[in-house]
Structure formats: C-alpha cells, structure tokens
Symmetry: C2
C-alpha cells in the first residue's frame, strides 16, 4: 500500500533562525510562495511571540500564501499560544504548533521541574490550543533522549487532549537510523490512541544523519516529516527536504510512500533560498549542489554516454535542473520581462515591475547576456531587499593600484542634503568604507565579506554579501553591480540603512517577547 507522507517545511522557522539566514518580511513571503508552488503540505512560517517582525511575517504569510497549512510555533504557555493564533488565524488552514521538552536533562536542567509537572503543562497547552483551532501539533522537544516509556505516556495524553499531530524531534541530532526507527515503531506499538493523530519526526544533522533518521522513521510508520530547503537550520541544520523527497521518489518499492512535492521545482526553490540569504550550498551537496549531477571522470562520462543508468539514479530534469540559459537581452520588451520574472517565481506589483525593468535596461547596457541568475539577483537585491534609504549613494570614485595609495571619494544623499568626503585605505573598498564612515558618523565592524559572480563571463554581475556589526548587533546586506567596488559600497550603505531603520523602529516599539527557539 502506498502511503502519503506529509512534508512540513520549517525553512522559515528553524532555518531562518540560524546564523546568517535571517530574512525580511518580503523575502519570507517570496520564499513561502515558492514553497507553496513546490507543494509542501505545511509551512511553518515563524515563531510569532519571538518578535514583532516574526508576528507580522507569520500573519502576512497566513493571509497571502494559498495552498499549504500555515503553522506558527508557540511554547507551551497560553500567552505564546494566543499570540501564535492571532498570527496564523488569517490562513485558510491554520495550525498551532506548541512544544515542550520531555527529556530528563531538559526537565531537570532547563525547567528545574518534574516529569509529572511537564506532562500536565503539555496537556494544558494542547487543550488551550484546541480551544482556538482544530489543527494542533505538539512537539516533545528532545524526544529521542527522553525516557521512552514516559514519552509514550506524554504522546498518549496530548492526543487525548486533542493534538492532531504529534512530533518526535531528535533535537540534538544524536540518533542513529536503526535506533530512531525503533523509537517510532515503539510509539506506534505502545500508544493505544496513536491512530488518532499524525505521527511526525523532526531530525537534526549534527552527525550527518538527519535524512537517514527521517527515512528510517518513514519506514517505521511516521506520516509527517519536518525538514528544510538546503538542510539549513540550527547548528548543522535540519534534515534536507530535497534529499528526503528524492530518496522516497527514487526508491518507491522500498518505502511504499509518496509525497505531494513537485520535484521539478526543487532546484528553483533551493536557488531562491540561496539568492535571498546570499549563502550557497556547497558544490557536492546532494540533489541541489552544482556538482550533484556532474559526471567528471572519464570512466563515468563514458558509462553515462553508453547508458545513463550506469551512473545516474535520478535525472537532472526530475529536480528541475536546466542549463543556465540565455533568457533576455537589450531588445526584450517589458511583457517578456514580466513573464520571465513570473516564471522565476516572483510576484511583483506593477510599480516593482516598472522599477525592476528600469534596472534591467541599465544592466543590459553593461552586460550582453542576461541569465536567470542575473534577474534573480536584480530582483532580490534591488526590489525585494529594499530598506528605507536614510543614506543613498550619489557618487563614487575610487582609484587604487600597486604603487598608489587607494583613495575614494563618496557623495551620499540624506533627504535634500548631500554630503561628500574622501578617505584612503588598504584597498578601494576599505577607502570607500572609511569615506562612508566619515560622512555618516557611524562605524561598523566588518564581520564577513564575500563577492561572487552570479553568472559567467567577465561582465558578470558581482554580488557583495557582507555582515557588519554595529554596537554588538549584526546586519546582513547585499548588493549587485558589474563593478565589485560599487557593489561592496552599496552593500555597506544598505547595512547602515538597515541598522538606522531598526534603531528608529526600536525607539518607537521596544522589542518584546522571548528569543527564538528551535528543536
């Protein structure tokens, strides 16, 4: 019998809260729309109580993204659950996802509590959530390291209290597939009311076993798998969505299970996430890495030419991998341009399309061939990632070389006023940053700096991704230009503008709620 496995995507919650992967609300909505197109069953959109921004993003996704169930995370306390409901209630199919740790080490060290007290709180939280909605998931944080008898009692009790999905996380990525499969089988065998809920798993990759543990759980009866695009998430990340889905699809006889994922959307989804966060997967990442379908060695190439099945267990087409193709040039019209953006998964307003088209025409003057990646960079950096421009770049000139002192002249605009200054540095970027510091009066510490060509050719668009620290807080910013010095300066200005916007907002709305959680 072929079972349908539900795919619960937590890229926007567990993934988004890992270092370097934070997204703004527009980016979150864009990614959520692509996740809907990919066909995930549930989108965990965030942790509403964590911050005002998280609350707004979950609410916006609930209102705007159609298709999947929209879930929000909440600790097992009424205030968290109420706040979560206020954000997800706008969805056609909302879910409240509440969690509480059940391992002795968490109960003793984190809560200074007892098993009985934790059981009581879990039941109470689920009852409270069920008073608000019919779709309630309960997660037993650190389930794998919990006492299995006790865990079974908790699972039974929360199902009796109304949980419609019960999740068994391997929070710290400690399990081995044979053991994790055994735990799932144990729960199925010992919990009398288990058939009244969907049994879910949520695995982390600390020992590189997140995907294998998830698949072992499916083999032993789990009906929902929680995972992330590109396997991002806390520490070593979560189980990777694309690997789980393609393993199930590649070995149908073995698993007897299918998912609702449109696998040919996998590559696009992976690249959209990489483009939004500025963080690529490594070339040897399974399914979505640049080399995943590359047959480099001569013997392999020879075999593939004779019969692809000698070395290929799935086709590149099945995951939507097409050769980077020349899509548009300077003679392309606005309609073709808008169509192409739609094809890439962007839903933009008329104004945004007009603005993007103007940027595109500028780019055509500098660059002969425009690839999908150029368009993605353009939309991501110029349209979606916009922050209020407290300071904007009016003019930049740099000179440098092996025997000259790198010098930069910068003019910035703030409202009606322009200010100019120049500075020297170790290189043209350093010099320009110093000039920006002089004009704006702020000074950040550069934590990380990277430039990559987002497509091929000497006239490629260079995308600068930087992380800057101001007064102990880190800001991520990106900008693209054919001139790497200019993209570096625009990214730095964007970080300054983000910092100023956030400082201004914080002055009006003091940050509330606890910091984000993960399991």
């Amino acid at each position: 019998m072929t079972r349908r496995i539900l795919i619960f995507d937590t890229t926007l919650r567990d993934g988004e809260q890992s270092p370097g992967f934070s997204m703004n609300i527009t980016e979150k909505i864009t990614l959520a729309r692509q996740l809907a197109r990919l066909g995930v069953d549930i989108i965990e959109a965030g942790f509403p109580v964590a911050s005002e921004g998280d609350f707004e993003a979950v609410g916006a996704i609930a209102r705007e993204v159609k298709g999947p169930v929209i879930a929000g995370l909440a600790r097992a306390v009424s205030a968290d659950i109420d706040r979560c409901w206020d954000a997800v209630r706008h969805a056609a199919r909302p879910r409240i996802h509440t969690f509480l740790a059940t391992s002795d080490i968490h109960i003793a060290k984190k809560f200074n509590s007892t098993r009985e007290e934790i059981l009581r709180r879990a039941v109470e939280a689920v009852r409270h959530a069920r008073g608000l909605t019919g779709d309630v998931e309960f997660s037993a944080e650190d389930a794998f390291r919990s006492d299995w008898d006790y865990l079974c009692r908790v699972v039974e009790a929360v199902i009796d209290a109304g949980a419609t999905t019960v999740n068994i996380p391997d929070t710290v990525g400690y399990a081995i597939p044979s053991e994790f499969g055994e735990l799932i089988r144990t729960i199925r065998e010992r919990v009398p009311n288990i058939d009244r809920a969907v049994l879910a798993v949520h695995c982390h990759d600390d020992l590189g076993l997140g995907v294998a543990n998830s698949l072992a759980a499916v083999q032993n009866g789990a009906g929902q798998v929680e995972c992330t695009v590109n396997g991002i998430g806390e520490r070593a990340g979560n189980a990777s969505l694309e690997e789980i889905v393609m393993a199930l699809k590649t070995r149908p006889a073995l698993f007897g299970a299918v998912t609702g994922i449109h696998t040919e959307e996998i590559t696009r989804t992976s690249r959209l996430l990489a483009s939004i966060t500025g963080i690529d997967v490594q070339p040897n990442k399974a399914i979505v890495g640049r080399n995943a379908f590359a047959h480099e060695s001569g013997i392999h190439q020879d075999g593939v030419l004779k019969d692809a099945r000698t070395y290929e267990i799935m086709t590149p087409e099945s995951v939507g991998l097409a050769k980077a193709q020349l899509v548009l040039g300077k003679h392309s019209g606005r309609h073709a341009f808008a169509k192409r953006l739609e094809g890439l998964g962007y839903e933009l307003s008329k104004d945004q399309i007009a603005s993007a088209f103007a940027r595109f025409k500028d780019l055509c003057d500098k660059k002969k061939e425009i690839f999908d990646e150029d368009l993605a960079a353009l939309v991501e950096q110029e349209i979606l990632a916009v922050v209020p421009e407290v300071w904007s770049l009016e003019y930049l000139a740099t000179s440098s070389g092996t025997r000259s002192i790198p010098t930069a002249t910068v003019v910035l605009r703030q409202g009606e006023e322009t200010r100019q200054d120049s500075a020297t540095g170790d290189g043209p970027v350093d010099a320009a940053y110093h000039a920006v510091d002089r004009i704006t009066g702020v000074s950040g510490t550069l934590v990380s700096y990277q430039i990559r060509a987002v497509t091929s050719g000497k006239d490629a668009l260079g995308e600068a991704s930087i992380k800057v620290q101001f007064a102990g807080r880190e800001y991520v910013a990106r900008a693209a230009s054919t001139d790497v010095v200019e993209s570096s300066v625009r990214a730095y200005l964007s970080a300054i503008n983000r910092m100023l916007a956030e400082t201004a907002r914080a002055a009006g709305h003091p940050p509330a709620g606890p910091p984000p959680a993960g399991f």
Copy 2:
C-alpha cells in the same frame, strides 16, 4: 568488544577528481601530511595511470609522507597495476587498489561482457597485484546494485586470489541504510573465507545517505570505511570522514568501535582542504561548518548556559575548533613565525620560510591583526601554489566609480621585457582583465569568480578564487591582497601562467593514459 575501524581517506583520489577540487603536487603533499597528522590509516593518493601528474603526485606522497599506508588506484588490467606499483612502491607500506564493476548494468552496458568473464578478470588482476606486493585491495564497482549471490562469489574468489581488503562500494549512492547493512551482513554470512580479508565500504551521498550507509555497514561488521574530508567527491560526494568518525566517537556503546583518528585535528584538516581548493563547506555542514557549534536561538543559549549537555552532544574542543586567535603582529620575529606555520601544519623549506616571512612583513604594514587564516592564505597562495611566472605584475592602477568609465593601466613583465597597456570595462576588474588580455595576447572566459575575506575586519585579506577557461580547458587560480581588485588581477595572471606552463609541458610530454575513474 571494541573493534578498530580503519579509516581509508580518498580525498586525494575520489575527492580530487570532482569539479573544482583539483590540486597541484605541492598542495597534494601538504594535504597528505595533514591526513597523516589526522591519523588516517590509509591514504589513497591518486590514480597513477590517469596522467603523468597523478603518477608523480602518488610517487611523491609515497616517498615523503610517513605513517599511513599509501594506496594507488588501478583498473583491473596489468598495465594499470604495474604503473600503480611504480608509484606506490616507494612507501613504507604500499597498497595496490584495483577495481572492476560487478553490476549487471555495468557488465552489459559498459563492458559488453559476462559475469564469468568479469570474475575471471578480477581474479587475474588480484593475482597480478599480489605478485608485486602483499597489500592488495579489490573493489567491486557498483557492488550494491550487483546480484548479491554473484557478488559473494566474486568476493570469495578475489580473497582466494590474495586480496587482503575487499571493498563494497555503493557507487551511485542508491542504498538505504537498512539495505546496505543487510548486504554487509549477507557477505559476512555467505562468503566462507571472509575472515581472511578486511571488509571495506565506500558510500556516495547522492541521496544524502553516505554517512548513514557507512555506519550501518560498521554495525554489520565492516572493518574499513572509505571517506573524504568535507565529504567531497564525484557528484554529491563521498561519505564525510568527520561525520563518520564523530558518530563513532559520540556513540561508543552503540557501535562498539573506535578509529585511530585524532579528532582534534578535524577542523584544521577541513580548513586546509577548503583553503587549498578555495571551496568552503556550507555553514550548516555537520562537524566542520561555521554554524555546527553555534547555538543561535535564545532558548538554546539559555539551555547551554545552564548545562551544555542540553543541546551539545560533542564539544567544539573535541574537533579542534578554537576561536580565531590573534597570533602574530608586526613585531613578531622569524622564529615565532616559523613555529606558528609549523603549528598550522605547513612543512616549508628554509627558502620558502624566508619568502613567506617577507610577505608576512609586507602584510603587517597593511593589516594590524594577523590571524591563522591570514597565514594560511599567505602560504597557500604565495608559496605553495606558485607556478612558473611567465608574466608577472609590475604595476596596476585602476579608477572607477558611478559616473566614470572604469579604466585600468597594467604593466606586465616577461623575463627582461615589460609591456604596458590600458583598457576600459564594466568595472575595475573587467577593465584590468581586458588590459591583461591585450598585453598577453590570450583571452580567457571567466567561468566563476569569488572574493571572500579570509578573516574579519575592514582591512581583511581579500582572497579571489577564479576559474578561467582557455580553449576548452579550465584553470583554477587564487590570490590574496587587501585590495580586491589587485587580488582579482593576480588570480587572473596566475591562471594565465598555469595555462602557459601546462601548454609548454604538454608540448614536451604528450598526455598519456586514460581519464580518471571513481566509484
């Protein structure tokens, strides 16, 4: 009973032949030395028949690297095996590793042969190799997809012929842990002479299961695991050494197995490979990713502060992860400098140390704080990756900005002669590349381009990693400078010099032998 699992590292063979990971002979020796320090039991140093360069590298590693067994790969034909022996024979403990595919699809489509013929060839190859040395490994390529009865017959026959290690690869990364464990158990149960050889496994990660399959094999009696640093290798790569080793170490009771790996050398080895190839692991890579030990969420941080065991199953110290530390400054002497390089794993000649020290002093003038990463970049780019300088950079000056046409002036030296030219472009890098093209008369296509800061701070060293195509062949090059335009130009020149050196060498020594293989 605790068993000792042998770690067979194939970073220099299966890893090195994947796109973007090629290394020159100096880089290979440097990495092999670090692998010996890491404590791997066997280093597969290359595939000697594949090229003159591979042959030389395997020979050099066999002569110079002490400790591990040094293995070379050979197809199951006498000429390959003889060539392999000529390269590895210099080692204190040499191994010939020969392979032949045993799956029906490979036998029929790749070899147009029969099972009996393949069995005969495998036995012959092993006998020939045993005539040369006492340490012979046989790999049954695509073993997992082979008929298991036939595979058992092949294993028995090659052991009778003298194979001391028999390897069972999942060449295409198709297996699921439960099945792969079953195959290993089946071989142990059905092959009567199996105790006369070490049973090895070699897993690929196409479905993200390489590590899980390797561990399932260990649970079912495998005694040797083949893997790579950072999990690099053909397509989605090989099983990752660091994940396998740390899983065995983290769950000793479960596996009852230990390795000889000095785990506190893991981070250094991973970073050395990344530095040599210019390809980083993704931040959420298990064990060695930048985020692998980062506890971002507030709830996790809170838990870790109360008791690290709430969220930490292994310590950062156990894999040698130390905070980036300030190591040297402009007042450091040559002795401290040399000591530090030694500590980082570099073994340099007196001349190389003198040259590195001079570069270090130059760097101190530009940069206040020198980190380990700066030193690694300096040694990698300036000392180890040296190619004959057909063209060297005498002078570079660029100017660019938002309203000016990016212009570059370049002076290059070739022997006694200098030539100068200037050009414009889309940015200062593009302009300088055009000027270099004009002077040298060659013109490459930029396939990929990346700059990253190898340490923190605005005055960080920017390392440019580029891939350039000349007449259909790709050349990787890197260079570091505090000026990103300068590092881009130096990298491009280095690619041109590599291409010219290779073209000159090819004119003298026509390339021989088959292209590289992998399984």
